[in-house]
Symmetry: C2
Subunit: 694 residues, 2 copies
C-alpha cells in the first residue's frame, strides 16, 4: 500500500449511521447550555466567502490567482475593528497573515497569492482595536475643540499597557506614553497621540487574545491553469489508421498529432484503450449480437489480454503508448485517458475477485442497464460490497498506474453511478501526491448530483451545454455556471458533441451549425471539447430519431478522409489561436451577457480581471438566416468612455470597426461567418498622434 493510500484511510468497515442527535446542535449554540458557559467574543464574523457548503468542501482556484476572501465583521457599538486573513499551505507548520480592509457596511476583504499547487487553508480573525477606537474618538473631539486632557491620560494608559509586552517597541512606546501623559503642552500631547508611527506600532502589537476566529478553517484547492481552461479533442485511436479497414494503433495516433496540433488543441482525449471483452460483444450500431470481425465497444473493458491496467493489443503495447505520451509533449498536447469503472464479462477481476460484483439469485452477474437501455457487454462493480476496501484500493492502484506512466488528465465515465465518498477519497488521495492531476466528470444527470460530484473533487464537469441552444437557454445556463457561487467549485467543460450526443441542431444545421456551436463552446467558458473527426468534418448522420451517430465508432472502425475542402479544421485552428492569444478566455468568471435586440443574436464579453484584455463575442444562433441587430454595451462597466471612439477588431474576419457610444450595429450571415470575436482596442492617444489605436 502506498503512503497516500494509507493517508486516504479507508480502514473502518462501514459507513457511519446517525449518532445521537441530542449532542448535535451547532457548536455556536453550545455556550448557551449548562456546561459550556463562556460567551462568544464581542466581534462577529459571518459569511466568510468563498466557501462551499460551509467549508465541507474546498473551493477551487488556479495557481497564480490572488485568492480574495470577504466576510462580514462587526461588533456592538462604535469601536474600530481590525481583521486578519490567515492562510497557509495545508500541512505547513505556521500561518501567514494579511490585513483585511473594510469595504463598506461591515464588509471586509483580504487576499493572498496562490503560489503553488495543492491545498491551502484559510480563516479570518477580527478583534476590537482599542487604540484605534480611542484615537478616532480623540480626533473627533480635537476637531470639535473639546477638552481632552482625560482622553490623553486614557491613551497613555492604553499605550503603557501594550508597552509592557511589546518586546522591541517597549522603550519607544513607553516614551510616547510619557509624552501623552506629561507632554510640554496640549498641542504637543495631542501630536504625540496622533503620531502615525504610534498607530503603526500599536497596530503591530494589537492584543488578539480576545479575537474572534471564523469557523471552520476553509480549504482552497489550487490547480494548474489547464484545470480551468483548455481545448479538448476526443478521438478513437482505432479509427486513426490511414488505411481503410486496418485497426488504428498508437503509432497512427502519433502520426495524427500534427493534425490535432494544427487545430490548436491542448488535450487529446482517448476513449478506453484497454482490451475489449468478447462475451456479449455488441455489433455495429449497437446490434445485440456481434458479427465476426466486429471490434466491440471500448467501454466493455477487460479480456484474457488484461483489464484496466492493460492496453488493447490491436492498439500496440504499453511501450507504444508511452511513446505516444512522449511525442504528444513535443506538440504541447496532453493525452487524457478514460476511467470507466466497469467490466466486460471477460475481465480478469471477475475471476479473481468475484466478491467485487453483485451476483443474482441464479448465480449470474447482472449486466448494466438503465431500462429500456441494456448493456449486456458490461457488468458494473459493486462499490458497496463487503470487500469494498480491497476494491477501492485496486481502483486507486489503477489510477496510479497510469499516472506513473505520465498521464495527468482523466475523463471519468458515468461517475454518478458510483458512491460520492469513493470519488472524494480517490481524488483527494491522488491529488495529495499529484496536485497536477485533472479529473473530468462525465455526469449527464440531475443538477444536484452533477454539482455534488464537482464538490467531491472533480476538477471539471461536463454540462448540459449540448442541450442549451436558444439565446434564453444559453444566457440562463451560462450565467448560473459562471456567475454564481457554483463557479467556486464546478468548472464547466463545454463539449459540443460526444460519441453519445449528436444534438438535433448539428444533425440538421450542417456546417454552419457546427461553426456556431463551436464558437459558443470555445468562447463561453474556460474549457471546451469536440469529438472528431466527426465534428470538424460536420459528419452528422444519426440513427433516426436519436442523438446517436450512425455507424458510431463506439462499435466499429471508421476511416476518415481528413483533407476535405469543407473541413472546419482551419476555422477551429483560427479560433483556438484567438483563444490562446487572448487571456480573457481563461477567466470564465468574467463572462457578461449583452443586450441585442434580435433573439437570434447572442452577445457577451469576456475579459481579464484587470479588464486589459476585453473581448466581445457575437454569435448568430441561426445556421440558416442572416440576422442583424443593435448591440448595447455597458460602457462604464467595460471601462470604455462614452464620448471616445474605440476599435472593435473582429479577429475572425480581421475587419476593424470604429465604434463610439453604447449602441452599435452588428450583422451576421451564416453563409459568410457565424460570429464576430471582437477584441476591443481602447484609444490611448489623441488623433494628433496619427496612430489612433493600440
Amino acid at each position: 500500500m502506498t503512503t497516500a493510500a494509507r493517508r486516504g484511510g479507508i480502514a473502518a468497515a462501514t459507513p457511519a449511521g446517525p449518532a445521537d442527535p441530542a449532542d448535535s446542535l451547532h457548536p455556536g449554540q453550545r455556550w448557551l447550555s449548562r456546561e459550556l458557559a463562556s460567551p462568544p467574543g464581542r466581534v462577529v464574523i459571518e459569511h466568510v466567502r468563498p466557501a462551499v457548503n460551509g467549508g465541507r468542501f474546498p473551493v477551487k482556484r488556479v495557481v497564480g490567482d490572488v485568492f480574495t476572501v470577504t466576510a462580514s465583521i462587526f461588533a456592538e457599538g462604535h469601536d474600530q475593528l481590525s481583521a486578519i486573513l490567515h492562510y497557509r499551505r495545508r500541512g505547513a507548520r505556521s500561518w501567514s497573515e494579511t490585513a483585511m480592509t473594510l469595504l463598506r457596511n461591515d464588509q471586509w476583504q483580504g487576499g493572498f497569492p496562490l503560489e503553488s499547487l495543492g491545498m491551502y487553508e484559510y480563516y479570518v480573525t477580527g478583534c476590537v482595536d482599542e487604540f484605534a477606537s480611542w484615537r478616532h474618538a480623540l480626533e473627533r473631539k480635537v476637531r470639535a475643540g473639546l477638552e481632552v486632557s482625560s482622553e490623553l491620560l486614557e491613551g497613555a494608559r492604553i499605550v503603557e499597557s501594550v508597552a509592557t509586552h511589546a518586546e522591541d517597541d517597549r522603550t519607544w512606546l513607553g516614551l510616547q506614553a510619557r509624552d501623552l501623559r506629561e507632554g510640554t503642552d496640549r498641542p504637543a500631547r495631542i501630536a504625540a497621540a496622533l503620531d502615525p508611527q504610534l498607530l503603526t506600532r500599536m497596530t503591530r502589537h494589537l492584543d488578539r487574545g480576545r479575537a474572534t476566529r471564523s469557523e471552520p478553517v476553509l480549504l482552497v484547492d489550487v490547480d494548474r491553469e489547464r484545470a480551468r481552461s483548455g481545448a479538448w479533442y476526443e478521438m478513437f485511436p482505432r479509427s486513426a489508421s490511414p488505411e481503410p479497414g486496418r485497426h488504428g494503433t498508437f503509432a497512427d495516433c502519433i502520426d495524427r498529432l500534427p493534425y490535432v496540433a494544427s487545430m490548436g488543441f491542448d488535450v487529446l482525449y482517448l476513449p478506453p484503450i484497454h482490451p475489449i471483452g468478447v462475451t456479449h460483444r455488441k455489433g455495429r450500431n449497437n446490434a445485440r449480437v456481434a458479427e465476426s470481425g466486429d471490434v466491440g465497444s471500448p467501454w466493455a473493458i477487460g479480456s484474457a489480454d488484461g483489464g484496466h491496467d492493460a492496453v488493447h493489443p490491436a492498439l500496440g503495447t504499453l511501450a507504444d503508448f508511452d511513446r505516444l505520451l512522449e511525442e504528444a509533449k513535443l506538440f504541447d498536447i496532453e493525452i487524457a485517458l478514460d476511467i470507466a469503472w466497469q467490466c466486460s464479462p471477460d475481465h480478469p477481476w471477475i475471476r479473481e475477485h468475484p466478491e467485487w460484483f453483485r451476483h443474482r439469485p441464479d448465480g449470474t452477474i447482472q449486466y448494466a442497464e438503465n431500462p429500456p437501455k441494456k448493456y449486456e457487454d458490461i457488468v458494473p462493480l459493486h462499490f458497496a460490497t463487503p470487500r469494498w476496501r480491497e476494491l477501492w484500493e485496486e481502483l486507486l492502484r489503477v489510477v496510479r498506474f497510469w499516472i506513473d506512466r505520465g498521464v495527468k488528465i482523466f475523463r471519468v465515465d458515468n461517475p454518478h453511478t458510483k458512491p460520492f465518498a469513493f470519488w472524494e477519497w480517490l481524488i483527494r488521495t491522488i491529488k495529495d501526491d499529484h496536485p497536477d492531476v485533472i479529473f473530468l466528470s462525465e455526469a449527464f444527470t440531475r443538477p444536484s448530483v452533477m454539482r455534488y460530484l464537482a464538490k467531491c473533487g472533480f476538477t471539471q464537469s461536463y454540462t448540459y451545454f449540448t442541450w442549451r441552444n436558444t439565446k434564453e437557454e444559453l444566457t440562463e445556463y451560462l450565467t448560473e455556471l459562471c456567475n454564481t457561487e457554483i463557479a467556486d467549485y464546478l468548472r464547466p467543460n463545454l463539449f459540443a458533441n460526444t460519441p453519445d450526443i449528436l444534438h438535433e441542431v448539428l444533425q440538421s444545421g450542417g456546417r454552419a451549425a457546427h461553426q456556431i456551436r463551436f464558437v459558443l463552446a470555445a468562447t463561453l467558458a474556460g474549457s471546451y471539447g469536440i469529438y472528431g473527426p466527426h465534428f470538424e468534418l460536420a459528419e452528422s448522420r444519426a440513427v433516426a430519431g436519436t442523438e446517436e451517430y450512425l455507424d458510431s465508432e463506439k462499435y466499429q472502425l471508421r476511416h476518415w478522409q481528413l483533407d476535405q475542402p469543407a473541413s472546419l479544421a482551419p476555422f477551429i485552428g483560427h479560433v483556438n489561436r484567438i483563444r490562446r492569444e487572448n487571456p480573457a478566455f481563461r477567466h470564465p468568471e468574467r463572462l457578461r451577457f449583452l443586450t441585442v435586440d434580435n433573439e437570434h443574436l447572442i452577445a457577451y464579453t469576456r475579459s481579464t480581471p484587470d479588464g486589459g484584455n476585453l473581448m466581445i463575442v457575437v454569435v448568430n444562433l441561426s445556421p440558416y438566416h442572416a440576422h442583424r441587430g443593435w448591440l448595447e454595451l455597458p460602457l462604464e462597466a467595460l471601462g470604455l468612455e462614452a464620448d471616445q471612439p474605440f476599435q472593435a477588431h473582429d479577429l475572425l474576419s480581421n475587419a476593424r470597426f470604429l465604434w463610439r457610444g453604447s449602441r452599435n450595429f452588428v450583422a451576421l450571415d451564416p453563409r459568410e461567418a457565424p460570429a464576430h470575436i471582437f477584441r476591443v482596442r481602447r484609444r490611448l492617444r489623441t488623433e494628433h498622434d496619427f496612430d489612433y489605436y493600440m
Copy 2:
C-alpha cells in the same frame, strides 16, 4: 439565583479566544484524514431549509403554523430514496417523525405542526429504499414484458431479510416472500411482489442503519401570534393627565385605555417609567441645563427613589402600575415596557456597584456620547467589566421583576451598544421560562448589526421604514424584509414615527402624509406602531433642520386635546378593524408587489397561505396630488380566473368595483382617501344564483 439563570450559565470568566485552527476543519472533512476512516453514507443531504447561519441560530415561527422543511436529498445512481423529518420539543425524550415527499429535482419537503410555544428541534434523515428501488425496476420490466424470475427471487430475499427483524410483521412478510419465491404461477408471483400492502409494510421496516442524518440539529423558536403581528401605540404616561400642567399618572393611563382601544391597538408601549435622575438633567428641547420644574428625560434612569425596578413616584406606585396592567387586559391591550440599560448619575447602582461602570483617569464616569451628540444625564454600563457576571445577572433579575408583575412585552432601547452575547443569553434564559415574552429591538444602525441582533433572539426589530418613502425604496426594502431568508429570523415592526424620528415627509405633508404613512405601516408587514397622540393629531412641528419633535415629550410634559375634528383616530380605528378582520395581514411573508404605471402609486397584495383571504392595497404616495394608473394583477398567481369577473371591495370607502382580467384602473386623491384596501371576493356562483359574490 433562579433555575433559569443557572441554566443560562455564565460561570466562566472570559470570552473564548481562538483555539488551534489545525483541528478546525469542517467535521465533514475529517473522514479524509488519517485517523477517521469511515466514509459518509451513500445518501447526501444538503441545503436543509430554513436554517439561520447553518443552525447557529433558531428560525422564528408562530404557534399554529405548520413548519415546512425542505432539503436536497440524493444518492449516486438511480435508487429510490426515503426521507424523514425528525422533530421534537426541545428537551423532550423522544423524537417524532414525518415522511418527506419528493417535489422535483431531488428537492424533498416535509412539515410538522408547531403546537406549543418554545423551542423545537429538527433534522432530516435519508436512506436508500432497497425494496422500493427493486419494486420500481420490477414494474418497468414487467411493463416491458421482460423475464423477471431472477428479479422475483431477489425480491424474496429482500423481504426475507427484513422479516427476520420485523417483529409484528414477521409472519406476514415471511408468507409474502414465499409467494414471491414459489407462487403458483408468474402472474401470482408478480401480483405478490407488487402488492401495495407489501410496499407499505416494507417501508415501515426500512433499515435506517445506514441513513444519512443532516447536521447540525436545527432549532425553531415558536412564539405567540403577537410576536408576528400587532398594532403598537406609544405614549408618555406623564402627558396623559387631563389637566394641563399636572404630571400624568398610571391612573390617567387607565382613563386613556378606552381611547387607545377605540383605535384598535393591541400593545400600549410606555417609555421608561422609572425614577428620573436630577444630576445633569436635561431641560426642555434638550437644553443643556434644566430649569426648575423641568421633568427630565425618562431615559435618564435612577434616582434616590430607585432604579430599574422602581417606578417614578410622580406616576404612582407599583400597585398603581399593577392596576394599569389589569385594566388594560379588559381592553385586550398589553402593556409594553422599555428596557434601557443605562443610568442617570443618581442611579443606586453607581453607589452600590461602581465596578459596573467605566471610570476615567480623573475618577469620573464618562457620560454617554455619540459625537457630536452628548448625553450628560446618562452614563453607560460597562458590559465587559471584570464583574460582568454580577452585572448580567442583575439585569436578568430586573427583567424577571417586571415579568413577575405581568409584563410580557419589552421594547429594548439601543441594543446595538451592548454585547451580542449578552442579548443571546438574556433572551434565551428568559424565554426558557417564559416563551410568551416578546423583545422588540430598537436598533437603528448598520444592517448587519440589526440582523445579528434579530438572530441573537430579538422577537421583533425596528427597521429603516421611516426613511423609505419612494415606491422604489419601499419595494426594495420590504421585499428584502419579507421575501428573503431574512424573514426567517427578523420580524419587522414598522414604526411610522417615534419620539426620536419625525421624518420630513410627516413634517411637511400634513394630515394626508400621516394617513399615507399609516396605511403603509399597517399593511406592509405584520407589526407596526405609531407614537401618539402626536401621530393621530398630525402634530408635526420639528426642531428646525432635524427629525426631532419640537417641545418633545422626552424633556417636558405635554397636554393633549384629543377630540379634535381632524384627528386620525377614527381612520386609525377603521384600518385596525380591517387588519383584525382580515387574517392576510398576519402573514407578512405573503407580501407581493404589483406593477402600476405611475411612480406615485404603490400596490401590493397580502394573503393567507391558502389564498382564501386576499387583499390588494393601493396607496398614493403623494400627499399633495391625485394620481391614477393601471394596475397589473398576476391573476394566476392570485388564484383569479382571467375570464371571470371578481369584486374588489374597498374596505376603506366601502366602494365595490367589478374587475375582470389583469389590467384595472385605480385613482386616488389624497384630499379624499390616501389608499384603497381592497378585499378580493372571488365569484363562487353563477349569475343565475343572483348572489354574485361571497
